[in-house]
Amino acid sequence: MDALTLFGIFILLPLVGALLSYFGRKYAPIIALIFVAITGIFLYVWYGNFGSYTVDIGVKLNLTFDITTWFFMLMINTVIFSSLLFAVSADLKNAGGFSTLMLLGFTGANGVLLSRDFLSLYLFWELMSWSVYVLILRTSGEYARRYLLFGVLSAYFIIMGIGIIYYYTGSFLYEDALSGVIPYYAWAWILVFLILGFGVKMAIIPLHVWAPYAYSSEQPFVSFLSGGLSKLGTFGIYMSMYSIAGVGILDSFGTFRGVSLLGYPFALLGAITAFVGTILAIFQDDIRKLLAYSSIGQLGYVMVGLGLGTSLALGGALFHAFNHAFFKSLLFLGAGAVIYRTGKYKISEMGGLGYRMPFTFLFVLFAIFGLAGIPLTSGFISKWMLYEAAIEKKFVIIAPLMLIASVGAFLYSYRILYGIFLGGLKEEHKKVKEAPAPMLAAMFILMLPLLIFSIVPGWILGWINDVLTNTGLKPIDYTQFTYYSSIGGANMATFWIAFMVLFFVAVAIFIMKRARVVNQYDNYFAGEAPSSVALHAAHNYYKPLKDTWAPMLKYSVDRAYEKFSKFFVDGFYEIKKIYTGNPQDYAAYLGIAFLIFLIIGWWLL
């Protein structure tokens, strides 16, 4: 494997795919699917041989294929594969344009993961962010505009970071940044800029405003955006903190109980994001907005792990990013299947679809178990690692925020389950059919790893360990079925055996008697005959909680941004007065300019 094959397979191939699939009309997603499958196969085949190469397209692009890249590529490749598989049967309008832009985004993502110098990182980062912009533009221009503003903000934060490094080292390579020429205060600026830059893509609290809007576009794309592309933010922060800067520099800012003073505020920010994201998610009635805020919350957890920096915390962050990629895109695909079948977005308008779409319900249920961290899925293990990391180091602000946020996760999880799948089935949904086969296949692919890695966590912990040792950090200790931290451990094998046995006991008691099935109208309704609308209690679901928290919910970051930008726009109108419009002023400007130039020239002499 040399430079060209690596560059060819992961960058050129999807680009060619993008061009080809534009003309594929209705079959475009299938074409795109083939290209993604090819890259997937190569990803699997090339697991062993890693290496770094440079490609010259006028500017030198340094690409490295190592375990970290492989780990993140595995996530993104699977997520886009299932999104496109979902899109095959989702009959999107102008499917050609959709698959082109998806593949462009995929190329950008691959490029960011492969690149080991700032030029190619920035190049592919921008390519990925504008292809997402155009994808959102397909649904609504206003949402796309807000996304692009934050996308560009994140790009310019990264540019500032790169610039400062370039000022000191004069080269774009990651390795050169470690050459010790950069003073430690400059590192503070660099890391703050880079983390904020990548943090925008992970929707950390002050920079999260674009997420609920961006997540209201087409479901297959959104599942790739939230499942796959938000992992680039994680990759970016992970690389900039631990591979570009390295633990030595982080600790040079002084450590607070083994955690660098630079990392701790970001961990705190992550915890606040987790808490606020979850609380906001509880009160949303639109399924897409709810999933958007829940995604912000879950990524807050990842941010905590990245901020803390101990090997357990980082392992937890990587594992949680992995889980989030799967259960979040599974949730979005599930919601997409429901929206595809009923055409409704509001949770209170749906109801009882679980009886009509049983498989979709089971997949979404499994994703909810992953999201809420129930031990039946691997979602628990990653959350466990993050909690243990925080408690190990006795952080009394981060740990409670995370724990309470996870309880909040139960609330909005049940709101999704009850609002859409349980409760009374409305008249117009009586004849709703199950989601088409490709959609179910897509969801199945995403569900598999959550189950497998919950039974045998050893495999994925092995990969995560390789990633940690690859970036020079201490590995976490684990065996095939158990994982440990300094203050506790858990064995998933005994858990599963015990659960199976006790479940068998419950089933034994249960099947003693048969039960007669009753239709949904044969319900205790104080003797009256219930109508289908009355059966569904999902309208305004957590109203008492909302009323108690009303004073706190008044403040919204969106309105702060609006006021902030209005202040600047008024300034622009002031400046506009310079161009008065009559030529005499313009001629006067010329004279004044000449005088100023002369004085400056004189003074410089």
């Binding site: 003693m512 008697k513 048969r514 109208y521 205790y524 104080a526 003797g527 009256e528 005959a529």
Partner: protein
Amino acid sequence: MNENPLPSVIPDKEWKKIQRMLSKRSLWMIHFCTGCGAMEMPPVMTSRYDMERFGIIPMATPRQADLMLVTGYVATKTLKRIVRVYEQMQDPKYVIAFGSCPINGGIYWDSYNIIKRLDKYIPVDLYIAGCMPRPEAVMDAFLKLMKDIDEGKANGWMRYRKYYDQYKRNQMRIFKRWDE
């Protein structure tokens, strides 16, 4: 009709005996306070007579209840609700009718919308006479019912299942629409 849960382990006869003993000792009551009988229930439930010592506790939904109390006159409108609640209860289920109104219409013998005899529409296991029987009568009725259950005489739910079509015919003569 009632399958036997543990056929092999315990012989059928003994199992039925245990079943009857269990349902006797824990009668869960849903209280359909149609008329003036509701006033008699508080003394029965509270410290003076305390029906809970026989395992009888008030329940909120027919699904969880075995015993239904119809306390007072039954108008045609109320009958429809009583039949629905009765059908939502799970076998074995028993009905006790309070006072003279369910027996023969009581003081409303001449009214145009009070049904004169309850067990024409749903099987009643026990009537308690009296224009609102005193709590002692109610307690006595409970004990009588428990004895009937024990001896297997209180089989109203079997009769409802057996003569279901007759009951339905009678009911539909009183009210025309059922599902509204």
